[in-house]
């Protein structure tokens, strides 16, 4: 069970962060853990090293466009990213993220968050508190039934826990 409300630092990226940036195709044979170390390296070489469990990825429009590869969401999750916050997401990435236990939050005002800001994020209430700037942004809350899955750590973990295995 993952705690879903959390505090962490914002890593800010631009529009159209694609799945080749998140999980480069030519490295897809690596283990999930090794692949995660290359997440976003083409645009932020130090990201995998500096991101700490509970930190947030904040981005512009259409986050996660491109391939259907789940490694894009898995890599962020393995690096401990607490949630991805963006005004819009590519459809397959959005489904994948929730299926894998990574909260993806639609936030129109994500652009108000700057790199390094300290955020407190509550996906159930749909509230993002920017402690650095003392302001609160709203995001689309994740509905209960999906949040139960996210909390369990994703669809498979959720199915297993419901089967009691």
């Amino acid at each position: 069970m993952t705690e879903t409300r959390g505090t962490g630092r914002a890593f800010v990226f631009g529009n159209n962060i694609d799945t080749d940036l998140l999980a480069p195709g030519h490295l897809m044979k690596l283990s999930a853990e090794d692949l995660a170390q290359h997440c976003l390296e083409a645009i932020a070489p130090d990201f995998a090293k500096s991101v700490q469990p509970g930190d947030f990825v904040v981005a512009g429009k259409n986050f996660g466009l491109g391939s259907s590869r789940e490694q894009a969401a898995i890599s962020l999750r393995l690096l401990g990213v607490g949630a991805v916050i963006a005004p819009s997401f590519a459809r397959i990435f959005y489904r994948n993220a929730l299926n894998l236990g990574l909260p993806a939050l639609f936030c129109e005002e994500a652009y108000r968050i700057a790199d390094g800001d300290q955020l407190m994020v509550d996906p159930v209430l749909g509230k993002i508190t920017n402690k650095t700037r003392s302001e609160t942004l709203s995001c689309k809350p994740i509905p209960d039934h999906l949040m139960a899955m996210v909390r369990a750590g994703g669809l498979i973990a959720h199915l297993k826990s419901r089967r009691g295995t």
Partner: protein, 438 residues
């Protein structure tokens, strides 16, 4: 290109997406925004997204496949094996297909999206769930075909069902006819620029006389690259051309399948009109399909590699387009032209009709059928600083090899013309020579 929005009617007709989703959900009618449970007719996955990702979970859940006869597995991403890891992935896929008696397994026969229509597996009206983002490709056959990630697909192959949100539809109304050396790829590069790639949770519906005049190979380009627009599906209503293609490939289709078309008074989120007669060759510059311009914008930029490959850009007609330019010519000295036909059937057909010898005589290197360099996995990857012009559908940073490589996207005509000169070239400029040669 122009844009109009239609007035909302009180009792409006339905888009093709609404009709297909009503069928899949067993409801008389569905409305945009509704969350529905749908029954899947065909579930497709490949060697990268399928068995290797499902197997551990299927084993630990003690689950089996809902209906092996409705499951298609295609090994296309890691083919042919180039090292121990890819060999192991392919072996796991083969073993899985055998163990689970997967109804349709195609091992190294071509790219999944090319395989579905080639094997006659598509039929207007059905819901196709694919473990690949270009699954909308099959929408050219009037199917509701959408891409899903591996975990969603796992749920689908175990239960035969999934959920979706009924999308609003963007209608692309296409008129006119394509001039020489212009193709459906150029239409899509214009649309990526004009509509952008941020149309998630939307259906794209193509129609009009311009679409009806296109071959199935060209219609598939429109549907395939609905994925670049961010759309859930890229739908084209079936007509006699569709039915003819399905029958010629051993599938079943009847006149009743022609009923899968939008109502004339359907409500669209917006309608975009394109006149093919005004279209000129386009090119997308690195690192996004939306970064596209008329070809004039990039003329003369030097290239190192020309790549004719992928589900979108290496069908038989794509090879014909390239051959039209390359016939009797020789590619530039410092350029490599790589051709990876979309399926082994395409290779055989191109060999039979002489296209292959035209390409080889021009200096092309023939590669195995599969995703290859398009997926960043197979032959034809790029080094730092190298520039490639490609018939593929995506040019994201790092996709075809090194993160510091540069990929231009264009039609097979433009890629072939550029291979001849060694720099980005306008294929329409090759018309006079062709006329003289003939």
């Amino acid at each position: 290109m122009s844009e109009t929005s239609r007035p909302q009617l009180v009792s409006s007709g339905q888009t093709l997406a609404q009709k297909l989703l009503a069928r899949a959900s067993g409801k008389p009618r569905v409305e945009p925004g509704e969350i529905i449970l749908v029954q899947v007719d065909l579930a497709m996955a490949h060697d990268s997204s399928g068995p290797r990702r499902w197997k551990p979970h299927l084993d630990s859940l003690g689950a089996t496949l809902w209906d092996p006869s409705r499951i298609v597995i295609v090994s296309d991403h890691y083919v042919p094996a180039v090292d121990g890891e890819s060999a192991a992935i392919l072996k796991l896929t083969r073993d899985f297909a055998k163990e689970h008696r997967v109804g349709h397994f195609f091992d190294m026969e071509g790219i999944c999206h090319a395989i579905l229509p080639q094997k006659g597996l598509l039929r207007p009206g059905i819901f196709v769930a694919g473990g690949d983002s270009h699954t909308p490709h099959a929408g050219a056959f009037g199917c509701y075909a959408a891409g899903f990630g591996a975990t969603d697909m796992l749920g689908i192959v175990v239960t035969g069902q999934t959920w979706t949100i009924v999308p609003e539809t963007i209608r692309i109304e296409i008129t006119g006819s394509l001039g020489p050396m212009v193709s459906a790829k150029d239409v899509m590069l214009v649309l990526c620029r004009e509509l952008g790639m941020d149309n998630a949770f939307k259906a794209i519906e193509y129609g009009g006389p311009g679409v009806e005049s296109m071959s199935m190979d060209e219609r598939m380009v429109l549907s395939n690259m609905a994925a670049e627009l961010g759309g859930e599906v890229g739908l084209i209503a079936a007509d006699e051309v569709t039915l003819g293609h399905i029958r010629a490939h051993g599938g079943s289709a009847t006149e009743a399948d022609l009923a899968w078309k939008p109502d004339p008074n359907a409500t669209y989120e917006r309608i975009i009109s394109i006149n093919l007669s005004d279209l000129e060759p386009q090119i997308a510059l690195p690192h996004s399909p939306a970064n596209s311009f008329p070809i004039n914008h990039a003329l003369g930029s030097p290239i190192h590699q020309a790549y004719i490959g992928a589900c979108v850009g290496a069908k038989l007609q794509d090879l014909h387009m390239a051959a039209q330019i390359l016939k009797g010519q020789r590619i530039a000295k410092d350029v490599r032209l790589l051709v990876a036909p979309a399926s082994s059937q395409v290779t055989a057909d191109a060999a039979a009709d002489g296209t292959l010898s035209t390409l080889l005589a021009a200096g092309a290197t023939l590669l195995p059928s599969g995703c290859g360099a398009c997926a960043g996995m197979g032959a034809g990857l790029l080094a730092a600083g190298e520039v490639c012009i490609s018939t593929t559908n995506r040019n994201f940073k790092g996709r075809m090899g090194h993160a510091e490589a540069f990929v231009y996207l264009a039609s097979p005509y433009t890629v072939a013309a550029s291979a001849l000169t060694g720099c980005v070239s306008d294929p329409t400029k090759f018309l006079p020579e062709l006329a003289v040669a003939q």
